[in-house]
Symmetry: C2
């Protein structure tokens, strides 16, 4: 039943679709906007009618009319760090529950595109997971008045809602765990100096170790496995190597674990290793990493709540929510029993 | 210099921006559309002028005028499988080089949203990395006439361009590698039955093993680590366990490696393990997985080339490009020397 006949180009309406599919216009609308709650059999009839008629709902026209795209962008700097895909999986379902589409932008190559898209109001709001001072997309969002929530990495005086783990307290717990096991030759592998997560975790660790009067060695990584593997090799190949290494994220810790294997050092007997994030592979038998579990789902939930509230007009002062984290002890620091007893 | 004065709301034009920033209108346009090739100092002046005036280029208006969003969507089913972030990183830079923005949709929770967005022409084209028969977003794209390229997973008679690794040939090579090492108790861990990658790899493996008159055991996984770890435990805990296991992707192989560790089996002495993809962690010392390297960057390059050609009006018959893959031998099958000599 083609609705466009020779010499006749009447525009197909959603009313036509509803009649053809034998459903209500509300049902057609639910299918068109991707809402749930339509029985599969009815949904199939609507899709069939859409195909028969070649109907096109014009998103550009809707966006011009409503000023809304119902799209939220998530910005991350490195989707190859498995922490971010974990966060994205929860953000996607939380946003869908509020009837928002999620799109992902990776900074770097895409950052100028993202900034341009924000300026053009192609998205209603932004969840920024890897904020750094001077991020172009962040600056664009703020100058365009697009609501922003900083998630995971935060910025002082950002003037927007922020949600993060309590990095400082959790890293202090890590330092206590290593000191209690009797370690006196400690090393710390940090991330980029501008990243709040790295700085807060490093400072939490330093504060406890300093108070205990123990000296520590410090090297600067970049959150990546490969850099950490090179640094780990430098740290561990000599005879007087550290007996414990705290890394500000799990990927960095895996780099040090692999370097230990390459140098013939046993973990945890020769060197204990601790990470931060508790990404799923930290629990793998081959890696068995002691680390800090961030409450990823809870963080994503709070960030989406704040963004949706702002999109609905909440203009209360910005909040910064820091969620508590948990130390998860695995084989890389000797499992449940302290190293001294091993 | 606010352009909106009391009692006066003249619309700010890009001409105003150019004058205020002391650059050409072409430069303003380049900055607004996120193109490269603008000197940082000039770009900063344009951004400053945009902020001063509160200028908004309206993407919805542009999209209505041109019928184009210059946005391509990449659809994947599980961004937590590290293969996809690797692919995304290359797709993002390839698309940016053609002046297209990339957005990511994950199927599952987001699939209906993606289908709706495609029907609304919010994106110009679609790169589908995890096609399955009956994918709603794929059906929506085809009925809406939005160009689609299938990348990685393919579908018979899809009627669109497809780019994949030569899965059948590569898996046949894996079977030859294991048979040459003298293995006679083989196991195969597949993925979902509908996924072309799993089916082609399984069939390539079977064809060689069958021809050699060697029997093999087969179990169905789902591409995930956790399912594979459970299956691996079943396979390896008994005394008469397989001496070699081929897994249709790397995550599955890591699950079997971890199960081997949990069962106290040495790799490769008690059991050899082979994966498929060569994601970066396959090279980690703690995992050291023999696997098949897919030419990820080349696959992404060809897929973007095809999509851009279609967007520019190429209506030649659809092509299916299969790119050759390479066997990478690591410790999980005994490294460079065959197991028989170990």
């Amino acid at each position: 039943m083609p609705m466009e006949r020779e010499g006749q180009t009447r525009r197909v309406t959603s009313h036509d679709i509803a009649r053809l599919a034998n459903v209500s216009q509300a049902t057609v609308s639910r299918v068109l906007t991707g809402k749930s709650g339509v029985a599969p059999e009815r949904r199939d009839r609507v899709l069939w009618a859409l195909e028969q008629t070649g109907y096109r709902r014009n998103a550009a026209a809707t966006a011009m009319r409503t000023g809304r795209t119902r799209t939220a962008a998530v910005v991350v700097s490195d989707v190859r760090n498995p922490f971010y895909p974990e966060l994205l999986a929860t953000l996607g379902s939380e946003l869908a529950a509020h009837d928002y589409r999620m799109i992902l932008w990776e900074t770097g190559a895409g950052e100028d595109h993202a900034a341009a898209a924000v300026r053009e109001h192609l998205v209603d709001g932004l969840l920024f997971c890897t904020a750094m001072p001077g991020s172009p997309a962040l600056a664009a969002a703020r100058s365009a008045g697009v609501p922003v929530v900083l998630l995971n990495r935060t910025l002082p005086d950002a003037g927007v809602d922020q949600v993060s783990g309590d990095n400082h307290a959790a890293a202090a717990t890590v330092a206590g765990h290593l000191l209690a096991a009797g370690h006196e030759h400690l090393a710390l592998v940090t991330g980029p100096a501008d990243a709040s997560t790295s700085e807060e975790r490093a400072e939490g660790f330093r504060s406890v170790v300093r108070a205990a009067g123990v000296r520590w060695l410090e090297v600067a990584g970049d959150f990546s496995h490969d850099t950490a593997r090179t640094l780990g090799h430098e740290l561990l190949r000599g005879q007087r190597h550290p007996s414990a290494v705290f890394c500000v994220n799990d990927l960095t810790a895996f780099g040090v674990l692999n370097a230990a294997t390459a140098c013939g050092r046993s973990v945890p007997q020769d060197v204990a290793v601790v990470g931060f994030d508790d990404i799923p592979m930290a629990a793998w038998e081959r890696l068995a990493l002691t680390t800090v579990r961030q409450p990823i789902a809870e963080m994503a939930h709070h960030a989406v709540q704040r963004l949706v509230a702002r999109l609905e007009g909440d203009d209360s002062p910005p909040t910064h929510r820091r969620l508590p984290c948990t130390l998860v002890v695995r084989d890389s620091t000797g499992g449940a029993s302290p190293i001294r007893d091993a």
